[in-house]
Assembly symmetry: C2
Homo-oligomer: 230 residues x 2
């Protein structure tokens, strides 16, 4: 396996804290770590977007809000308000969970309207669709990917990490890649705890990694490459 | 332990399906079981409120929508829209997860505004506050209960069942009872899978039980009481 150095990995890491019991202080730490290690984004619940944006002002670290996980049970209207609210507070990216219930009920037009509404509400920000991969049949995965692509979603992301979506694996990343349109990118997420897992997922085609273990991952990469600066 | 008959237990059961992969057909089944067994309410994600309401028209079974679980990370604005939307679609009750992050950050006035906004958005419907009990210190539990009572919340509910809120136990029900105001009621939820657990929680002071195993529980009660009609 080719060696990925810390500086190769860090810009692919979206450093994440969605814990219900995360405090403002925890979000501050998350943001500081993003700056310190050169992570791509701080990923937070909508209630913390404003704080994260303020803390990251003047840096290149983006703020990403996560919506509707892990049940995918919010109405389109409520999610549109959530996304627009997050955009108004300065978030740069939105990860939303697809309406798995509509998809599995064969309500494809409702599913499409819901997906389109997310992209529209994000007003040009990067939008990632959380598939909850482990819940989907191959047909459903294919349908979801097609609707997401046609709706202008930028990334497929395999899992919320909080429900039944499963973990990121090389196979999962490859499966997403195989159904994603040529312009779509892949965010791997859930269960990415160490350097070797992270590196394998990037090698398999993941453009971004969603993880709460970003620090562990880059320090692991530094150790493996003999880099003393981390 | 005094024997609880099926007809004692069924009216306390809020029969629940919040699975992300629940289909319209699953919601139909849930509603049919509510009618068949005399459960108090069908508890569903907001996307299914309209269907559940239609399916239960002409019956006494209520429809309850669940909001913001299990991360508690939605903004007040988004939750207000979610609740008002659910009310507009006919829901009779709202279970919302408290903003644990605000509570744990000591942002008590923001926490209070958030809680009050939920009650106001519900326009007189029964409102239950999901505490995610296992995440809270005793002080936080006390503060949450006080703010909920002062805001007009009707029920304390221990857990979403999807995150880190823990399971319902006799101790949890007693602890909620000890901090709840005299007019507040208790909904026990998460991990209630059989008759004996359900009966013990009711004995301990739970006014309602949130469970996806309602059928199992009443048929268990029937078996223990020798009732042949279930």
């Amino acid at each position: 396996m080719p060696q990925l150095r810390p500086q190769d990995l860090a810009p692919k890491i979206q450093h994440t804290n969605l814990n219900p019991d995360a405090t403002r202080r925890d979000i501050e730490r998350l943001c500081k770590e993003c700056v310190r290690y050169g992570f791509d984004a701080a990923v937070v619940n909508p209630i913390w977007v404003r704080d994260a944006k303020r803390l990251l002002r003047g840096t290149e670290v983006k703020v990403c809000a996560v919506v509707n996980i892990p049940l995918g049970g919010s109405t389109t209207l409520a999610k549109v308000v959530e996304v627009r609210n997050a955009v108004a507070m300065g978030c740069d990216e939105v990860d939303f969970m697809i309406a798995v219930g509509y998809l599995k009920s064969g309500m494809i037009e409702v599913f499409r309207e819901d997906t389109e509404a997310m992209v529209e509400a994000a007003e040009g920000r990067v939008v990632k669709a959380i598939l909850e991969f482990a819940l989907l049949t191959e047909d459903e995965l294919r349908t979801a990917a097609r609707v997401c692509e046609e709706s202008g979603v930028h990334y497929l992301k395999n899992s919320s990490g909080w429900g039944k979506g499963g973990h990121a694996t090389v196979e999962v990343v490859r499966a997403m890649r195989s159904v994603a349109g040529p312009n779509m990118r892949i965010k791997a997420s859930a269960g990415i705890r160490d350097y070797r897992t992270a590196a394998a997922l990037v090698e398999a085609g993941a453009d971004l990694l969603g993880t709460s273990a970003g620090v562990q991952i880059v320090t692991g990469a530094a150790a493996e490459s003999g880099d003393q600066t981390y």
